[in-house]
C-alpha cells in the first residue's frame, strides 16, 4: 500500500472538496461514509436514523471544510463532527438521561473478562444499555475521550460521567458473565 501518495491524494481531494467540487466531495464521502455510519450506529440504535444523522454530519463537513486546517487526521475531524451530531440528535429526542448520583471513587472489583464476541454481538450488548450509560461508555471506552471532555460534551459533571461509566461497566460485565465467556482473568 502506498501511503505517501495516498496522503497526498487525500490532501488534494480535501482541497478540491473545499472548493465545492462535487466529484471530490463524493470521493471523500465514499471513502469515509462506511466508518462514519458505524460510528453513528454505536450511539443510535436505529440504522435509518443513524444514516440520517451521518448525512447531517457530512453536510456540516462539506459546508465547513475550510475550517479543517490539516493539523490532524481528516478522519478524526470528521469523526468528532459525527459524535457531536449524534449527541445533538439524542438530546433533541430527550433520550439521554443521567443519574444524579456522582461517584468519585469506584471499587475496583471488576472481573476483567476476555471476550471473543463478534462485532454484532458487542453492538447488541451496548444497545441494551440505557442511553445515558451507553453514551458515556462509548465515548470513554470506544472513542477514547476523557471524563472531563465527556462532561463538557454532555453538559454534565465529571463525577456524573464517572458514575455513568461505572454503572455501564457493571451491566456489561453481568451480561458477559451470563453469556459464559470462554476465559477470564481476575484482577
Amino acid at each position: 500500500m502506498k501511503v505517501i501518495p495516498l496522503f497526498k491524494n487525500e490532501k488534494k481531494l480535501i482541497a478540491r472538496a473545499a472548493e465545492k467540487n462535487r466529484r471530490a466531495q463524493q470521493e471523500l464521502y465514499k471513502k469515509h461514509s462506511g466508518k462514519m455510519l458505524a460510528v453513528c450506529r454505536r450511539y443510535i440504535k436505529d440504522l435509518q436514523q443513524a444514516e440520517e444523522v451521518m448525512l447531517n454530519g457530512f453536510y456540516k463537513v462539506f459546508t465547513h471544510l475550510e475550517n479543517f486546517k490539516n493539523e490532524g487526521s481528516f478522519e478524526g475531524w470528521v469523526r468528532r463532527i459525527m459524535v457531536r451530531e449524534c449527541i445533538s440528535y439524542l438530546r433533541s429526542k430527550k433520550k439521554m438521561e443521567f443519574g444524579l448520583e456522582e461517584i468519585e471513587k469506584f471499587p475496583e472489583n471488576f472481573t476483567d473478562l476476555e471476550t471473543s464476541f463478534e462485532v454484532e454481538h458487542i453492538q447488541q450488548l451496548i444497545d441494551d444499555l440505557p442511553e445515558g450509560y451507553k453514551m458515556v461508555f462509548v465515548l470513554y471506552a470506544i472513542e477514547g475521550y476523557k471524563h472531563k471532555e465527556i462532561a463538557k460534551m454532555l453538559n454534565i459533571e465529571t463525577g456524573t460521567s464517572k458514575s455513568q461509566l461505572y454503572k455501564a461497566r457493571q451491566l456489561l460485565q453481568a451480561q458477559l458473565k451470563n453469556q459464559k465467556t470462554t476465559a477470564y482473568v481476575t484482577t
Binding site: 466531495q25 463524493q26 462506511g34 466508518k35 450506529r41 457530512f58 476483567d112 453492538q123 471506552a141 464517572k162
Partner: protein, 246 residues
C-alpha cells in the same frame, strides 16, 4: 480509571467496523449541498440590489441638495435667460441678461449705466464666476464687444467729415489702436447717452432687455445703405448734441 480488557477488545473490534450506507444516500446529501450553494448566490444578488438601491438614494439626495448655482448660463438656449448674480458686499450690483443678442451689465457705482451690445453672430457664454475673476472677464468682454461695434461703425463714420471729426477725438482714436479700460468705460458712458430712453425701465434705472433687443433686431434688419444714411443722420444730430453739451 483505566480501560478494562473487554473494553479494549470492544474498541478494537468496533473501530474496524464499517457499515455501508443505503444506495441513494449520496444523492440525498448532494441535493442538500446544491440547495446550500444556491442560497448564497441569492443572498449575493440581494446584497447587490440593496447596495445599488442605496447608491441611487444617496445620489438623489446629493443632487437634490446641490442645485445648479444661480448665475450659470446655459449656452445655446434661444429664449432669454435672465439671471441675477449678486457679488459679495461691494457696491456693484450686476445683472446679467443673456440671450443670443445681448450682454448687458449695470453698475451701481455711479448713476451711469455701462452698457455693451454685441451682434447676434456672437454667442454669449457667461458663467457665474467669483468676484475677482468676474471683473477681468467682464473687462475683456467689454473690450472685445466694443471693438466689434466700433469696427462695424467705422465704415460709416470714416467716409464723412463727421466720421473724421469723430475719429479725431482723442478717446475715439485710441479705440482703434489700443483700448484701455478707462477709455472703454468712457465710451460706454457715451453709448449710454446715445441709447433711446424708452428702453430703460423707469422704476429701477435698468435697461429693459426686451426693448433693447427689439431695437437691435430692428437695426440689424435694415439694409446697409439705409443704415449708413440713418446713422449718418443720427450721428450728425448726436454729435451736434454732444458737442453742444460738452
Amino acid at each position: 480509571m483505566s480501560r478494562l480488557k473487554f473494553e479494549t477488545q470492544f474498541k478494537e473490534k468496533l473501530e474496524k467496523q464499517e457499515i455501508r450506507p443505503s444506495a441513494g444516500s449520496w444523492e440525498k446529501l448532494e441535493s442538500r449541498l446544491n440547495g446550500e450553494d444556491k442560497k448564497p448566490r441569492w443572498i449575493w444578488w440581494a446584497g447587490i440590489a440593496a447596495s445599488v438601491a442605496v447608491g441611487i438614494l444617496i445620489f438623489s439626495l446629493i443632487f437634490n441638495n446641490n442645485p445648479i448655482p444661480q448665475g450659470t448660463e446655459i449656452v445655446g438656449q434661444p429664449s432669454t435667460i435672465e439671471t441675477r448674480f449678486e457679488e459679495k458686499e461691494t457696491d456693484k450690483n450686476q445683472q446679467f441678461v443673456s440671450n443670443e443678442a445681448e450682454f448687458i451689465t449695470t453698475s451701481k457705482t455711479s448713476d451711469e449705466i455701462n452698457i455693451s451690445v454685441k451682434g447676434t453672430k456672437k454667442t454669449s457664454s457667461v458663467q457665474a464666476a467669483t468676484a475677482s475673476s468676474e471683473d477681468e472677464s467682464l473687462q475683456i468682454k467689454k473690450r472685445k464687444q466694443l471693438k466689434a461695434i466700433w469696427e462695424e461703425r467705422e465704415t460709416v463714420l470714416l467716409s464723412t467729415e463727421i466720421a473724421k471729426s469723430f475719429a479725431g477725438t482723442t478717446s475715439e482714436e485710441k479705440i482703434f489702436h489700443s483700448v484701455t479700460d478707462a477709455e472703454i468705460d468712457a465710451l460706454l458712458k457715451q453709448a449710454r447717452l446715445k441709447l433711446p430712453p424708452h428702453i430703460f425701465e423707469s422704476t429701477q434705472n435698468q435697461i429693459s432687455a426686451g426693448a433693447l433687443l427689439n431695437g437691435i433686431e430692428t437695426e440689424l434688419n435694415r439694409s446697409f445703405r439705409d443704415k449708413i444714411l440713418s446713422d449718418l443722420g443720427e450721428k450728425l444730430l448726436e454729435f451736434a448734441l454732444a458737442s453742444r453739451n460738452y
